[in-house]
Every structure is written in structure tokens, then in C-alpha cells.
């Protein structure tokens, strides 16, 4: 750069220390940051449309994520170890059942046994199911008595519970030994499936956001072709010319993210009340949990990154094509 400094040695460029240069650099960034916001605000409708497209695209996976999180929370209490329900034959009376309970209690794999007599089972069923009146119509108690068995932690492995299940099934008084984990396991597999689906959907929609931003920025570049040419003619570096477009992408991302947040929050508040009512009918205190602070931060960060990336791609592709002639 010896030559360059020779060229500029006659002009009176004032000397800048690195700190001054950095301050000017940051100031310029700040100016472009707000300048690009100003440009967007001059066409609020178009800006809102683009941001809304981004917002809707992002609201979809975000909303599904919230639903999934709630489902996990709802089912979270269910995986506290396996339980085995021993349904006893109907002929088995309370005394015999109690004896069996004590016998089973002594098994090394068993941590606890809880006996639910036929009468207790009926009462519980009446209380929880809401079919109380219908059950009154029955002459006979249709429910069997049940021994609920909690295996020890050591025996709670899939193989261990399976072996215990076999062994319990062999008692003559037992009608059916059932591992209550089965449906919980299935639920988890289904939820895992849904989770993967949400991830795939999120990736596809993120790609869509990238293309929307990229295309919008491409149009912005074309609209400001003359300006870019002038900038290049008077010594604007690619970085300098790129800057306003990158910040435009940033703003699109931010606005899109805010709209997505708004849409999800709005949907949740619409769903919140009926969900609580429904949960109330199931004797549950479950309430929808919305987007927490971390999730909101993630949403906004992802959306801003997508905005920046989209504009980066567009600028990288199209800025080089525009050269002064």
C-alpha cells in the first residue's frame, strides 16, 4: 500500500487513530441500521406483507412446538417407573387377595403392593369417569379387584419388568397381569414422531423464509441499481454497499419473528380458556403454557438469523452482477 499512501499524501486526509476509526465505523453501522429501517417504513404496506409472510411461516412450527411441549408436560407425570396391574379372578375374595398381596410383597423385585378391592375400584371409577349414574343401573359390580405392584428400581428395566410380569401371571388367582407402561411407551413414540415432523416442517419453512427474504432483497437491489453503481464508482467497498441490504434483512427477520410471536400468543390465548375447561372436566389443573422467555428469544434469534442469511445470499449473488459501465 506504499503507492496508495503516496497518492493520498498530498491530500489533507486527517490522521485517525484506531479508536476514532472504530468509533466512526460503529457510528456508520448505527446510521445504516436506522437508515434501512427508515427505507422500510417508507413503504409500510409492502414491508408488513413480507414480514407477515415470514411471521406466518415461523408461527406454524413455533405453535406446534408449544403444543408438543404442553403434551410432554401433560404426560410428564406418567413415566415415573412401570406399574404392573394384577387383575384377579372374580371368584377371589378379599382375604385371599390380601394373602396374595403379602406373598408378592416378599418378592425381591417388588417395592410395594397396593390392593384395590372390587368395591374400591367401583368407587374410584365412579368418581373419575363421570359415568356414575350409568353405573347405578348395573346390578352387579363389573370390575375385578386389582393388585397394583411397583417393581423396585433395580427390576424396573424392560427385561426385569417383563420377567416379573411372567412370574406374576403364573399365580392361579391372577386373571391378567398387565404392564401399564405399554400405552405410555406408545404415546412417547408417537410424540417423538410428531417432534420429528415439527423439525422437518420447521426446516422446510425456514427455507421458505430464506427464499422470501432473498427474493425481497433481490428486488430491493434491482430497485437501487443506480445507487449501487454510483457507490461503486466513488469507491464504495462491497461491504459498504452490502450493509444496508443486510440490515434490511435483519429488520424483516425481526418483524417476522415478532409477528410469529404475536400469532402464537394470540392463538394460545384463544385456546387457553377452553383447554382449561376441558382439563377441569378431567379433574386436572392443567393449563396451557405459552412461549417462555427462552423460547421467545430463540424464535426471534432464529428469525433474525434467517433474515440476515436470506439477504446475505441475495446480496452475494446479485451485487457482483451490478458493475458500472
Amino acid at each position: 500500500m506504499a503507492t496508495k499512501s503516496r497518492v493520498s499524501s498530498r491530500d489533507n486526509n486527517i490522521r485517525q487513530g484506531p479508536v476514532t476509526a472504530l468509533r466512526i465505523y460503529l457510528l456508520r453501522h448505527l446510521q445504516v441500521f436506522f437508515y434501512s429501517l427508515g427505507v422500510l417504513s417508507r413503504s409500510p404496506f409492502a414491508t408488513l406483507m413480507t414480514a407477515a409472510v415470514i411471521g406466518i411461516a415461523l408461527a406454524l412450527p413455533t405453535g406446534l412446538h408449544v403444543v408438543l411441549k404442553n403434551a410432554q408436560q401433560l404426560s410428564g407425570g406418567w413415566d415415573g417407573g412401570a406399574q404392573i396391574s394384577l387383575f384377579l379372578k372374580r371368584a377371589v375374595e378379599d382375604d385371599e387377595a390380601n394373602r396374595l398381596a403379602k406373598q408378592i410383597q416378599k418378592l425381591p423385585e417388588v417395592a410395594g403392593v397396593n390392593y384395590i378391592s372390587r368395591r374400591e375400584a367401583l368407587q374410584e371409577f365412579q368418581r373419575l369417569s363421570g359415568f356414575g349414574d350409568a353405573l347405578q343401573a348395573l346390578k352387579d359390580n363389573p370390575l375385578p379387584s386389582v393388585l397394583v405392584i411397583r417393581p423396585t428400581a433395580a427390576a424396573s428395566t424392560p427385561a426385569g419388568t417383563e420377567a416379573l410380569l411372567q412370574r406374576l401371571n403364573d399365580y392361579p388367582a391372577v386373571d391378567l397381569a398387565q404392564l401399564d407402561m405399554q400405552w405410555v411407551k406408545r404415546l412417547y413414540v408417537i410424540m417423538e414422531l410428531v417432534r420429528r415432523g415439527v423439525v422437518v416442517l420447521a426446516i422446510l419453512l425456514a427455507l421458505a423464509v430464506l427464499l422470501v427474504v432473498g427474493n425481497t432483497i433481490r428486488l430491493a437491489i434491482q430497485n437501487r441499481r443506480a445507487e449501487i453503481v454510483v457507490m461503486k464508482l466513488i469507491g464504495g467497498t462491497d461491504g459498504f454497499i452490502r450493509r444496508p441490504f443486510l440490515y434490511t434483512g435483519f429488520w424483516y427477520g425481526l418483524f417476522g419473528g415478532l409477528i410469529a410471536w404475536l400469532l402464537v400468543s394470540l392463538s394460545l390465548s384463544i385456546l387457553g380458556e377452553p383447554v382449561e375447561r376441558l382439563a377441569g372436566l378431567y379433574q386436572s389443573r392443567f393449563a396451557l403454557s405459552g412461549l417462555d422467555f427462552a423460547a421467545t428469544g430463540m424464535l426471534l434469534a432464529a428469525s433474525i438469523i434467517l433474515g440476515l442469511a436470506g439477504s446475505w445470499l441475495a446480496v452475494g449473488r446479485h451485487l457482483r452482477d451490478i458493475e458500472p459501465t
Partner: protein
């Protein structure tokens, strides 16, 4: 300041815009570049500003071989050249002040310095007081002077002008030329492409004449 050594430019289409052009302009000189349309005036200026690269031969600006400047260094190189266009190349959505300030902002000058220099440049071209206006409200001559102010605001050692008086009446043209003379007097090298022979021949400066890409005449009244 400017040296061409057997420089040729052939465009991708096969058209020879410049053929074997050699000349040298010392620092502080003012010269006209003339010839018919298509004679290669614009191409010659483009080679100097690195808007095009030569196909053969070399171009040296201030001792620097332009062939050795990589693409990413071109912006920094251009900051040392003030370019003036026939169609002004102003940004019509920005004020006169912002247009003139642009090279300084690009070069990362501090705010205080920018205000001072922009006003000095506008004062020089006689447009002080119009800095808040938009270029569209100015006359053609005034727009051209905004373009000149923008070209000189960074105090470049070299000024290039491509038909700067192309659309102006003779009186305004003389005013513009007088401005260039003033820059030349303070040491700026000035190269003006123009086919306004009537005007050029009233002025005591070197004239380089191109015809079909070749330098056919080089007259310097000071010799």
C-alpha cells in the same frame, strides 16, 4: 500521474476500442481527450478508473500498475480519483449535501470533517446554500456542479471528466472548464474527455486526439 504504455483494449465482442496507445501525463497537468464518438475516449477513461482492464500493454496511475490491483482493492484505488460524468450520476432521493458527502462517508471520515469539507466543496462550485435541496430541483448546470463537488470533496490527486459539458450551453461550459482550471492550478491532474472542439481550442491545454482507438495527435501549446 497517468502513463499508458502500448495499451490496447479489445472487448469480448472482438471490437478493438483502443490500439497501442502510449502517453504520459505528469502530475498537475490538465489535458483534453478528444475524438469522435466511438473513438475510444470513454474506454480510455474506463481503463484509468479500473472500470475496464487493458487487454495488452499497461496503465500506470501514480506509478502503480493497474494490472496488479486485485478486484477487492479497486474501491480503495477509486477513492483517489474524482470522476465526473456527463449524466452526473447523482442520487435523486438524497439531498445535495448527502450526495456530496457520500465519498467521505464511504472513506470513513468523521462527521465534523464531513460537514466542513462538503461546504468547502459546494462553496468552490458556487452552490453553497443549496445543500438542503434535492438534485431534481436544480438546473442541468447546477447538477453538473454537484457532480463536480462530489468528485473533488475527497481531494483526489486525479480528476477524470467524461463529456462534463455535453448538455450545457457555451457559457455554462466555460464556467465548468474554468472550475477544472482552478483545480489544476492547485496541483490536481485533470483529464477531460470532450468533443467540444470549439471550446477546447480557446483554452491553452494539451489535447490528445483519438481516432478509431489510436492516438493520432498530441498537441501541447506549452511546449
Amino acid at each position: 500521474m497517468i502513463r499508458f504504455t502500448h495499451t490496447s483494449k479489445r472487448y469480448a465482442s472482438g471490437y478493438d476500442a483502443l490500439q497501442n496507445v502510449s502517453f504520459h501525463m505528469p502530475p498537475g497537468q490538465m489535458a483534453f481527450l478528444t475524438g469522435h464518438s466511438g473513438a475510444g475516449k470513454s474506454t480510455l477513461l474506463k481503463l484509468i478508473a479500473l472500470l475496464e482492464r487493458s487487454s495488452r500493454g499497461q496503465v500506470f496511475i501514480n506509478g502503480q500498475n493497474l494490472a496488479k490491483i486485485p478486484r477487492r482493492r479497486i474501491p480503495y484505488f477509486r477513492r483517489n480519483i474524482g470522476i465526473i460524468f456527463q449524466d452526473h450520476q447523482l442520487l435523486f432521493d438524497r439531498t445535495v449535501y448527502d450526495n456530496v458527502a457520500l465519498p467521505l462517508i464511504i472513506a470513513g471520515q468523521p462527521q465534523r470533517e464531513i460537514g466542513k469539507r462538503v461546504r468547502a466543496a459546494l462553496d468552490k462550485v458556487g452552490l453553497l446554500g443549496k445543500e438542503k435541496l434535492y438534485p431534481i430541483t436544480l438546473s442541468g448546470g447546477e447538477q453538473q456542479r454537484v457532480g463536480i463537488a462530489r468528485a473533488v470533496v475527497n481531494k483526489p490527486p486525479l480528476l477524470l471528466a467524461d463529456e462534463p459539458t455535453g448538455n450545457l450551453d457555451p457559457e455554462l461550459s466555460r464556467d465548468i472548464m474554468h472550475l477544472f482550471e482552478e483545480f489544476s492550478q492547485v496541483g490536481v491532474t485533470v483529464l477531460i474527455a470532450s468533443h467540444d472542439l470549439a471550446l477546447i481550442h480557446t483554452l491553452p491545454y494539451r489535447v490528445l486526439t483519438l481516432r478509431q482507438g489510436q492516438l493520432i495527435n498530441d498537441t501541447d501549446p506549452s511546449d
